[in-house]
């Protein structure tokens, strides 16, 4: 029987949650790297025992950990995230130029073909790649050197490159998203980049439909439909059917279209999930009721999923990297909250239960479906 391994990054360590295909009984292992912020962990799709973890601290900086045994043991690998050349400046919150400074890795995206190759999205926004299992890193610097980069500004969480999506039908095509610059696409394995933000509208920037400057929170793709992208923007849920060339709003009947996380059902490419959050100034669910919303039509028509989720007094947030799906026949949906709960639905969202309730604030959730 297949099983699942859930990799949870939190403010105070990493946790590995494992279950069989029923997803009812869970073994919880952790904390790994206790006391450190673990922004993200992700396993290689080629070798699921190879896992990369971003371990970070305001005191002691960035550490990269690698496991080759599915998270049982870890090895410190390279943290040499050095910008290529003289990195220049971006805009600071007050609009003044601010030098590019490395802060942390927000997201690891392992290659779809080679377990030793992994991409890292970092703050201040840039994309790095390692081809030796994380021991050394090189910047794919043309993204940061895009002519618009001096105008990029940080979002509230910092100016981070938080989303990396590789097209499974063409490994040279890579999508990234930066808060608050927007979405970018490379068609040549990261050598060149261009913004793909046509159709986005943001009322918090002077030119609402500008080429860059949008606070994209997350992009998701179904691997069998790589030209169809779903986006949770600061406000607005968006869809593109042309690999980001243009975007259409699909917020539809959502009670609020602010949020962070978005994901796609493993077997139904038009079934997507979001967790609506009240607003940009109130980062918690509407009316204290935690709800996932599902659309089976690629957006616009949404249904509330509430069975097993808190009905009242719930004021947590669900961050951008804290939702994931497994690939079992009955697709499992997972998300973690800033209140330390990790929820699972083993039936595509029909019913939910907490795997664990009292972890530190959850920063990221990834799921591995194992034989």
């Amino acid at each position: 029987m297949s099983r699942v391994r859930v990799l949870v990054g939190t403010r105070k360590g990493a946790f590995v949650l494992e279950s069989d295909g029923k997803r009812q009984e869970w073994k919880i292992d952790g904390p790994h790297f206790a006391g450190w912020e673990i922004y993200h962990l992700k396993g290689s799709p080629v070798d699921p025992n190879r896992i990369y973890a971003s371990q970070t601290s305001s005191w002691f900086g960035q550490i990269v950990q690698r496991s080759d045994d599915g998270g049982q043991s870890w090895e410190t690998v390279g943290n040499g995230f050095v910008y290529d050349g003289t990195p220049g400046t971006h805009q600071w919150y007050d609009g003044t130029p601010h030098p590019w400074e490395f802060a942390r890795v927000w997201h690891f995206e392992p290659s779809l073909s080679d377990p030793d190759t992994v991409y890292a999205g970092v703050e201040d926004a840039a994309l790095f790649r390692s081809t030796d299992g994380g021991r050394s890193w090189e910047e794919l610097s043309s993204l940061r050197e895009h002519p618009s980069a001096s105008s990029w500004q940080p979002g509230a969480g910092g100016m981070c490159l938080h989303t990396i999506v590789i097209d499974p039908s063409d490994y040279n095509r890579i999508f990234t998203a930066i808060s608050a610059a927007g979405a970018f696409r490379s068609d040549d394995a990261g050598k060149t980049w261009r913004p793909i933000n046509r159709g986005l509208k943001s009322n918090s920037i002077p030119q609402q439909e500008a080429e860059v400057g949008h606070c994209v929170h997350r992009i998701a793709m179904h691997p069998k439909h790589p030209n169809v992208l779903y986006m949770q923007k600061h406000w607005d849920v968006m869809r593109s059917v042309d690999a980001g060339e243009s975007w259409q709003e699909v917020s539809g009947n959502l009670p609020t279209d602010f949020g962070f996380a978005i994901d796609v059902h493993a077997h139904e490419p038009q079934t997507i999930y979001v967790v609506p959050i009240k607003s940009d100034s109130e980062h918690f669910p509407l009316d204290g009721r935690l709800r996932v919303y599902r659309s089976r039509t690629g957006g616009n028509e949404w249904e509330e999923l509430a069975n097993g989720l808190p009905e009242r007094n719930c004021y947590v947030n669900v961050l951008r990297d804290a939702m994931a799906v497994d690939r079992l026949d009955s697709c499992g949906i997972y998300f973690g909250t800033t209140g330390g709960q990790v929820y699972v639905s083993p039936d595509s969202g029909e019913s939910w239960s907490a795997i664990v309730r009292d972890l530190p604030a959850v920063l990221s959730v990834e799921v591995q479906t194992l034989p």
């Binding site: 006391g35 305001s58 005191w59 002691f60 900086g61 550490i63």
Partner: protein, 98 residues
């Protein structure tokens, strides 16, 4: 032999218990001590000082002989009591946050 006391998180990272004892070639300064420490424990690279600028990380402090040496020049000689192993060199995570 130089004695170095690391904060708990860095001891865990370096997989050491208690004090670290180091041989430091030449004059004992912050720079030569940290160079020797990072050489022996490469997983500590970047955790105490920036990998590019070599500047002390903002929330890391260096104490010895009941003095705060954090703002001393990296190439200034450390107190002789540190150089001869009588007193440890303390790497401390600054009090910040909760």
């Amino acid at each position: 032999m130089i004695r170095v006391v690391l904060p708990a998180h860095l001891r865990t990272l370096a997989r050491v218990d208690g004090e670290v004892r180091l041989e430091v070639a030449g004059e004992v300064t912050q720079r030569s001590l940290l160079d020797a420490l990072e050489m022996r424990y490469p997983m500590l690279l970047g955790t105490m000082r920036d990998r590019v600028t070599q500047q002390r990380r903002a929330y890391v402090r260096f104490f010895a002989c009941e003095q705060d040496l954090s703002h001393e020049r990296p190439d200034a000689p450390l107190p002789s009591a540190v150089a001869d192993g009588g007193e440890p060199f303390l790497v401390v995570g600054a009090m910040a946050g909760g």
